[in-house]
Symmetry: D2
Subunit: 401 residues, 4 copies
């Protein structure tokens, strides 16, 4: 290998590749966050976020990483001792649970083998059993970045409705928003948690809470203390196009541009593109004779594919070989998957030939790292990419019903 | 007025003008925050922050605005019901107090007319009176951005020492760090709170806590719940050059560059430059026959000058005239100074001719807005700038004793 | 002085300050100059140049500095031994003449004291005397950057018409285009020569020839050899949105943006802004008791002011003092003005406060360099700037009649 | 296909992909080209060019496209009626010949089938036959971008030496410099012609002449008129770090950075990398069962591979399919190869996975465009890339002997 020349392949499942347009948009002088030009920009961004999150309600933007938005969801709606129901799906669901526990929230976890999504039926059963409605919220991760499993949020919603349970629905969309179909309003989500650095094609540093009226109502009476994350302060300031503190102006420049790009492509096309790249990636994995972590074809993630290395092999060593030989970053196996699986990110500002470079790097790396596999994953992926060219959709501005 | 051509003059007291080098540094592809290249960068930045904050102890960096670092100082060291002593010096001291109260911290405030700094003698008196040592922390704002008053932190420290009181010392340096001399270790500060967007010449989006051993010890036993702001999680991850969540990678690129610029100029030169620009600004204010908010010559801020408009005139209307005619943003009077004063920021990436453009805009604006004043403030400022050219200092890397 | 912090003041009469938008536009990946995306951009730029040059005829763009466009004007229309009439107005007219002589063109020069523009009456007299029409072209510099004198091109045209002489009219607009009113078609210019780095707010690297039908006709039969500069090759390729060689793609990105900015402001407003800044600058010069090189109030340049230093003083030493103390570049006296005059550029992406910073730097520099002068030039300039705020004009797309 | 998302693949044989570092370096304020900061930069760039061109003699830099440097070589050394010997190797040799003829230079062409390089033996024969030494220069193209054939310049030099003929040796290195081994001094080249936009990893807009003492001597007496291209004017100004006209400052910023990158990688490593990518590309072509234009394995180009499509198929239609489906630009067949061949550029800022993306796009495009071929070219390329990882060389600054 010949050193770092050409572009690094950043194929972790986020941060994703940031478009030049977005980086260039951020690369402009910071303006007065109390002036009229800022307010106009801010109000425009707030509206555009509603279109992407598919909601008529406010989308709050925090200067923080996505973890901050996890915390914001919690401290604005819950009180110490409140019970929540968490569907474990992988490392990020575990981390979110741990966070809840730091705030004296009592988390009931539905365990899992980390190879499938949140089970609507189990959630329904637990809620039905909770006659006193002591469960205040159901928490799920839409796309489990650690496993490449996408939970069916709409089915969880339907299960909650069937159980006639008043719990709030919290959904982490950090790695799905802007890449996988998502409907905050239509799916009856109460708090959608998001971060900027994945499907939104931004660098990390902004996080989001889309909030239902019911969630806002909860925030009026809950007891967890908060200041930075306080929704009501932000909502009040947001009405005038400002924030209760200095916002991350240059990141907002970038967000304005990245959402413009998503809307130029059209959200439907964005979703279809990710779907297609997920299929091509899995075709390669199958051809290599390897196994994806996700076992349910209805839950395959369009944005990340986690792949087991055969027993006795070390996924982290494989990733190191790939990084050193081909200047590509792949995602590590996290938590109980550490060393057992690696993850291919195929999300954000991405296209067919970038995917083929990525899969070629994986295939060559498997060989150099002596991971048993069959040749030709790249050929299988090309077969998918060649045959799926009908997907261009007209780009009407997507309206929220 | 001739439309928006040429460069906007951003003369609010922060965000300050971001250097091109810093913007360009941020304008690079996001890298894997778990990879070796990131770790090397992160460890380097952490060390360089120590040099700027003048400490051998850790400086924690949060992806958040400065307000977040205010909160972090509090939730990591205090428990509900704890008492703290706050020297009121202006709007930002008030906001910080309000934040404390949201966490059930009992704030004893030393009131003020907002025209002078924290009074060491009063602090000493209160501490001496507190025989039970129920006061857990003393909180002061180093440079009160709302008034242009710089408190003498070292004298507060001495007062605390004289009182032999074990309270922690919290100092907000959001608008002083990187522009006004500051010594975290030598002044015995326990928690230094900072933000990226002022003297550090960065866009907003990063905040800082420099922490003493005593503060860290307090964080082991205090009771306020926290997750995002938790020092111990960050400190643990920082040892390996990482963070417990996705850091704001591109802002870190910028920070690396901005600190490099500060060190190229030399911190002593940076301080002297701000001092000199403060003097020139005040010379202009005096020549105009206007009054600064700050009344104590030993507390004049080198980074921002707040100026009263004569009774019966509206400072906000004046600022609007300046913005519309000369494309310059000035700071508003905040809180009880609203409409009564305006603020000139002269900090960060700034030089003599930018200051003269700024002061010219103020002088012309005073005229256009019919604010009674004498002509020739700009001449007075030029007299200061011309005579103070001896200040160049050699640039040895500043060592922490 | 405190080192290079803040923005450098680039107040030479070009290259002028390049807007961030233009730099950022250039900072994008180079594309295939034979592809459809490039062709669309190129055709758009060609049209927009016509609007700025005020012509319905082609405007050719060369990847070269402005000197190249001087040469292109010559080698495409003249033959060895041809006679041309050149109105000497300063250093740039002399350099252009020298260039002509390298191609065996016989230049008849109308001499001058370098303090006034091309004299229409003298040109008329020479043309009338040329009964055989041996003079093939009249060459003038619209704005003599070396002296701050703007020639009246329309009067030269009228003089040529009165003389009923068929000579071509060549006009150098390198430092006037995009800042001083200019009408290629209405003024009957045959070849307009331009460069990118002044009123067009671009970095150097592109040059221009706007060409009349008569000039194109001359290019079909003239005898000077050429290849790179050959109009007919370029015109042919331009029809399809391409060039006969690899064009400077990234500079073209910048040009597209800079012309967009000129048109957003409106050419009439652009002209008025430069006029006003010229007036303010001269007010300062008068108040200092110094003398401009230009002696005719009808020929004052709106983009650059050349100022004599008093006898016995060295303008270059003064400029050095200004550069070292205030980080501002001023233009040197050129040719016979070397050491006797300095030049203040006030063109391109520029505004009132940048001008005030500039003039403050000059005033302080005069003092530091011990150049005899009166104080208060900056006050005089402010008086002009304050009183001239009526100039905003609506911005209709300027149509070529 | 789903629109333009992700990065465009610019795989024409130049302009090549410009590194972010180079674009960002260009994206900085233009400075005074007559000031000390500029001079220091310019002198440094001139020295660094010598290291890349491998010469102790001057390397002149023109603000122009490469075509300008072709012309400069000619007009500085030859006189009308002079005879030169040109080895035809493809479209660019033809264009250079045409240019010569525009200046009344008498070109004797050694014809070729465009599938091989300059034949040293034929050149030797012609020179031996030229007893009167009427041939003033031998002109060859080092890397024929239109065919993917690299001529052996050192053998041409040896042939000239054997013939004891005093002709100058002109070499076009526009698409080889900075990617293919080249030795201006050691190979006794008199004028090396170059452009910025290929191996030098820059946008187009700069061109180069490296000149021997013998070439400079010729420029003192030759008769072709010139001004812009005049070496002696440039050489004189260059001694002080300036140019006789406004240089393309921002492109020079980029050049400084791109040469720094070449030297960080090490020229030997750069050459080896291109060699390896050429081999991998040809392995793919062979596996597809297609034919390269180049027929001599000793002359395969490391930077571009021209590939015939089978009789009856249209290479331009194929390229259109690739562009529309995979957002990749490939080079067209030029001149007599139009429609019969396409060209894959694999030069400049490039790496293994970018090459694999490129070759995948070609393989999928062949299928979609119904070009008969065998599957698996990408597998063959991967075999090359995997097995060639020993090539890392230490990076000593390359010294010119």
């Amino acid at each position: 290998m010949v050193g770092h020349t050409g572009r690094h392949f950043l194929q972790i499942p986020g941060p994703s590749n940031v478009p030049d347009r977005v980086l260039r948009a951020m690369d402009m002088p910071t303006i007065d966050h109390r002036g009229p030009e800022f307010a106009e920009m801010a109000l425009g961004i707030m509206e555009s976020c509603k279109r992407v999150f598919r909601t008529k309600n406010p989308v709050l933007i925090f200067p923080s990483s996505g973890t901050g938005a996890w915390e914001a969801a919690m401290v604005n709606t819950l009180s110490p001792g409140d019970k929540v129901l968490m569907a474990e799906t992988g490392q990020f669901s575990v981390l979110w649970r741990n966070l809840a526990e730091r705030f004296q929230v009592d988390v009931e976890t539905i365990p899992s083998d980390w190879r499938r999504g949140a089970k609507a039926s189990e959630i329904e059963a637990r809620l039905v059993a909770d006659k006193q409605h002591s469960i205040k919220a159901v928490m799920i991760v839409h796309n489990e970045t650690s496993t490449g499993v996408t939970s069916r949020v709409d089915e969880v919603r339907k299960a909650m409705d069937r159980a006639r349970h008043p719990a709030l629905l919290f959904v982490d969309t950090i790695s799905s928003m802007g890449s996988i179909r998502y409907e905050h309003d239509a799916w009856g989500v109460d708090v959608t948690v998001c971060g900027s650095q994945k499907g939104l094609m931004m660098p990390p540093g902004l996080s989001f809470n889309a909030v239902s009226d019911k969630a806002i109502a909860a925030s009026k009476t809950n007891k967890l203390p908060r200041s930075y994350w306080d929704w009501n302060e932000v909502l009040k300031a947001n009405q005038l196009g400002s924030w209760p503190y200095t916002p991350a102006t240059n990141l907002l420049y970038g967000l304005r541009e990245s959402i413009a790009m998503l809307e130029e492509e059209g959200l439907e096309n964005v979703y279809a593109r990710h779907q297609r790249h997920g299929e091509a990636t899995r075709a390669a994995v199958r051809a290599w004779g390897l196994e994806t972590v996700c076992v349910d074809a209805g839950e395959y993630s369009p944005v990340t594919t986690a792949v087991f290395v055969p027993e006795g092999h070390d996924a982290d060593r494989f990733r190191k070989v790939v990084l050193e030989n081909f200047d590509m970053s792949l995602g590590a196996g996290l938590g109980r998957l550490q060393g057992r699986a690696f993850r291919i990110g195929h999300l954000g500002h991405f296209n067919d030939l970038m995917l083929m470079g990525t899969l070629s790097g994986v295939e060559m790396g498997l060989d150099l790292a002596d991971i048993p596999h069959k040749k030709g994953g790249v050929l299988a992926a090309m077969d998918v990419l060649k045959s799926k060219d009908e997907g261009v959709v007209e780009v009407p501005r997507v309206a929220v019903a």
